[in-house]
C-alpha cells in the first residue's frame, strides 16, 4: 500500500515537472523564433529581391538615400539637378513600362531581345533611372548601379517613416510606431489606474455585501467581451464623440485608443487590486480602527501600503494588456504612421501594424522580417515594464 502511494506521488511529481518544462521550452522556443526572424531584417535590403537601380554611366550621381529614391519614384524630384547632378530630367523606367518604348516585335516573341533593349535605352538616355531585375544586367552592359545598402539598426530605430510598400525602396522607420504605442498605452494607464484603484477600494472596503455581489460579476463580464466588439463600439460611439467634443477634423485619435484600452484594462486592474486589498489581515485593520483612526485613514495608511505589491502587479498587468492589444486599437486610432505630438492625432501602434500587414507580407521577405523585428521591440517594452515591477518590489 505504501509502495503504491510512493509510486503515485512520483508520477504526480513527474507530471508537474514535465509540464512546467514543456511550458518553459515552448516559451523559449517562441522567443528564439521571434529573434531569429526579426533580426534577419538587418541582413536584407529594402528593395525587391534581385532588383537593382541603374542609371546612365555618364551620370555623376553615385549614391542616393532611400528618401530620395522614394521622391524620385513619386515624381517629387524630376530633375537630377535637385540631387546635385546634371541639369537633366529624370526618366523613370520599370520593366512594365518598357512596353511603352518598344513594340512587341522589338522585344521579341519570347522577350529574347529584352535585355538588349533595356541596355540600349539606358545608354541612349542620360537621365534614365531604371528599377529592374538583376537578370537583365547581362554581360557587357555599360551603365551604373546605384548601391542600395542593407538596413542598419540605427536607421531602423530612428527612421521617421514607416512605409513598407513604398516603391522602389521601402522605408522601415519604427520611431512613429514605437511612439504611437507608448502614447496610447500611457494614456490608457493614466485613465484606467485611478478609476480602477478607486473602484477596487470602494468594492473591498466601502460597498455593502449585496451591492458588491452585483458589481463584481458585472465588472468581470467586461473582460469576456471580444476586443473587436470594443473596437466597433469605439468606432461608432467614441470616435464621433471625441470629434465633436474637441471640435477636431478627425475623431480617430490616440485618445480614442487610450479610452478603449482603459475600459478593456479596467477588469484586470480592479479584480487584482481588490484581491490584494482583501489580503490585508483583519487584525491590522482592527488595530488601526481601535487606535482611533477613521476608515479613510485606515485605508490610506494601513490597507494600501500593505497591499502595494498587489496594486503594482495590477497596474503592470493592465499595461501588459494595453501594450499588446490589437484589434480594438486597429479600429479606432486611424493608423496613420506619423509621429504624434498630441493625444488628438491619429497614431499607428506596433500590434496594429503587425496585424494589418502580416497577412500580405510574403513569407521570408524583408517586410516579413521587419514585422518580426517589431515583435521584438514589443517584447522588449513589456520585458522592461515587468523588470521595473520586480525592481520596485525588491526595494520595499
Amino acid at each position: 500500500m505504501k509502495k503504491y502511494r510512493r509510486i503515485s506521488e512520483k508520477v504526480a511529481v513527474g507530471i508537474l515537472f514535465s509540464s512546467s518544462t514543456v511550458t518553459t521550452i515552448t516559451v523559449l522556443f517562441i522567443i528564439l523564433f521571434l529573434f531569429r526572424e526579426g533580426l534577419g531584417i538587418f541582413n536584407s535590403r529594402p528593395v525587391e529581391n534581385n532588383y537593382e537601380i541603374v542609371v546612365n554611366q555618364d551620370n555623376p550621381i553615385n549614391q542616393l538615400s532611400a528618401r530620395h529614391l522614394k521622391d524620385i519614384f513619386n515624381q517629387d524630384i524630376t530633375n537630377w539637378k535637385t540631387l546635385g547632378g546634371n541639369n537633366d530630367s529624370i526618366i523613370l523606367l520599370t520593366i512594365s513600362e518598357i512596353g511603352n518604348y518598344y513594340s512587341e516585335e522589338e522585344l521579341g516573341a519570347n522577350f529574347e531581345y529584352l535585355p538588349q533593349r533595356i541596355n540600349d535605352f539606358v545608354q541612349q538616355h542620360t537621365g534614365v533611372f531604371a528599377y529592374i531585375s538583376k537578370a537583365y544586367i547581362t554581360g557587357n552592359f555599360r551603365w551604373k548601379i546605384i548601391p542600395v545598402h542593407k538596413i542598419s539598426v540605427g536607421e531602423f530605430l530612428t527612421g521617421q517613416q514607416w512605409y513598407p510598400t513604398a516603391s522602389p525602396v521601402a522605408l522601415y522607420g519604427v520611431l512613429p510606431l514605437i511612439l504611437g504605442t507608448l502614447w496610447v498605452t500611457l494614456g490608457a494607464i493614466a485613465l484606467a489606474l485611478p478609476i480602477g484603484l478607486v473602484t477596487a477600494i470602494y468594492m473591498a472596503e466601502v460597498a455593502g455585501n449585496r451591492f458588491r455581489n452585483i458589481l463584481k460579476p458585472v465588472i468581470e463580464l467586461l473582460s469576456g467581451i471580444p476586443s473587436v466588439v470594443y473596437g466597433f463600439f469605439g468606432l461608432v460611439v467614441l470616435v464621433p464623440l471625441i470629434q465633436k467634443t474637441f471640435n477636431l477634423p478627425v475623431g480617430e485619435t490616440a485618445l480614442a485608443g487610450s479610452v478603449i484600452l482603459a475600459i478593456m484594462a479596467l477588469p484586470t486592474i480592479i479584480t487584482i487590486t481588490e484581491d490584494a486589498l482583501r489580503t490585508t489581515p483583519v487584525s491590522l485593520k482592527e488595530a488601526s480602527l481601535a487606535l482611533g483612526a477613521s476608515k479613510w485613514q485606515t485605508i490610506r495608511r494601513v490597507i494600501i501600503p500593505h497591499s502595494i505589491s498587489g496594486i503594482t502587479a495590477a497596474a503592470i498587468l493592465g499595461i501588459g494588456r494595453a501594450v499588446g492589444e490589437t484589434m480594438a486599437v486597429l479600429m479606432v486610432t486611424g493608423n496613420a504612421s506619423v509621429i504624434p505630438s498630441s493625444f488628438l492625432q491619429p497614431v499607428r501602434t506596433i500590434p496594429a501594424t503587425i496585424a494589418a500587414e502580416l497577412g500580405e507580407a510574403p513569407f521570408g521577405s524583408t517586410h516579413f522580417k521587419a514585422l518580426f523585428a517589431l515583435g521584438i521591440i514589443l517584447f522588449i517594452i513589456t520585458f522592461v515594464f515587468n523588470s521595473l515591477v520586480e525592481l520596485v518590489k525588491a526595494k520595499r
Binding site: L235, Q243, V338
Partner: protein, 276 residues
C-alpha cells in the same frame, strides 16, 4: 418491356456520363478581391454538378500568379493584368497560359454627404491622396481639412488605387489606414472632411459617391454598374482568371459557367459588374 429496360439502361449510363463531363476538380488561388466571387461561383457550381470539388483560397494576386508558375494552383485569380516580368517567367518555364476576364470591379470615391464637392478630376484625387492638397477649398469645397481614408497596404484595392488613380505614386503618410471597407464607410459617414474609396457594392445613403473625370475635367462620370459596364467610368478594373493551356479541358466547364448568364447573375448579386 424490353424497350423500357433498354431505355432505362441507356439513361442509367448516359446520365452519369453527362454529369461526369461537367465534373471539375481544381484549385483557385490569388486575389482577395476575387475571393468572395469565386467562392460563391464555386459553391453554386458544385451544387449543380455533384462530384465537383473546387477549392478557393486568397493570398493576393501576386501570390496566385506565382502559384500558377510553380504549379501549386490550377487557376490564378487576379485583380490586375499579368505583369510583363511574370509573363517572361512563365515563358521561360515553357508554359503557355490563357487569360479570361470573369467580371469587372469598380471603385467609387466617396465623401461625407454634407460635403458640397460633387466631382473631382484624377489629378485632384492624386494630389489629395499623396498629401499635396490638404484643404477642401483648394478643390472647390468649404474651408475644411481633408481627411484621406485608405485601405491597409495589404489590400489589393490599395494597390489598384495607387496604380490607377495615384499614377503609382505613394500614399501620404498622413492617410488613415482602415482594416476593412466597412470601417471606411463608417468613418466617412461621420467625419465631415473625409474622403475614401470603396467598392461599388458598398455605396449607401450615409456616404456620397463623387463623379470622376479622367480627361482633365471635360467629362465627369458617376460610378454605377451601368457606367462601369460601358467603360465610361474610369476607375474600373477587370478581374482575371489565368490558367495553363495544358489543363484547359479540366477547368473549361467551370470557367464557361462563370461566363454564362447564370454565372454573371451571381457576379451582379455579389456586387461586381457583369462583363456583358
Amino acid at each position: 418491356m424490353k424497350k423500357i429496360i433498354i431505355a432505362l439502361s441507356v439513361i442509367a449510363f448516359a446520365v452519369p456520363a453527362l454529369v461526369q463531363a461537367q465534373r471539375v476538380v481544381c484549385k483557385i488561388k490569388g486575389s482577395d478581391t476575387c475571393l468572395p466571387l469565386s467562392q460563391k461561383e464555386a459553391e453554386v457550381y458544385m451544387q449543380k454538378n455533384p462530384g465537383s470539388s473546387i477549392s478557393v483560397v486568397g493570398g493576393g494576386s501576386g501570390v496566385g500568379l506565382a502559384a500558377l508558375l510553380s504549379g501549386t494552383t490550377d487557376i490564378a485569380q487576379s485583380s490586375r493584368k499579368m505583369k510583363l516580368d511574370e509573363k517572361i517567367k512563365l515563358q521561360d518555364a515553357g508554359k503557355a497560359f490563357k487569360e479570361v476576364i470573369i467580371a469587372y470591379d469598380a471603385l467609387a470615391v466617396v465623401v461625407n454627404p454634407a460635403n458640397k464637392v460633387n466631382q473631382l478630376t484624377r489629378e485632384q484625387l492624386e494630389d489629395i491622396f499623396t498629401g499635396k492638397v490638404t484643404n477642401w477649398k483648394e478643390v472647390g469645397g468649404d474651408d475644411m481639412k481633408i481627411i484621406a481614408y485608405s485601405r491597409e497596404s495589404s489590400s489589393g484595392t490599395f494597390e489598384f488605387f495607387k496604380e490607377h488613380v495615384l499614377n503609382k505614386k505613394n500614399f501620404a503618410t498622413t492617410a488613415l489606414l482602415m482594416p476593412a471597407t466597412g470601417a471606411i464607410v463608417q468613418s466617412v459617414s461621420q467625419t465631415a472632411g473625409a474622403i475614401g474609396y470603396i467598392g461599388l457594392a458598398y455605396i449607401n445613403k450615409d456616404v456620397k459617391a463623387l463623379k470622376v473625370s479622367y480627361d482633365q475635367g471635360k467629362t465627369y462620370v458617376a460610378p454605377a454598374v451601368e457606367t462601369a459596364k460601358n467603360k465610361t467610368y474610369p476607375i474600373t478594373r477587370p478581374l482575371y482568371y489565368y490558367y495553363l493551356t495544358s489543363i484547359e479541358k479540366t477547368v473549361k466547364p467551370y470557367v464557361d459557367f462563370i461566363l454564362s448568364a447564370d454565372g454573371q447573375k451571381i457576379v451582379h448579386e455579389e456586387g461586381y459588374v457583369p462583363i456583358k
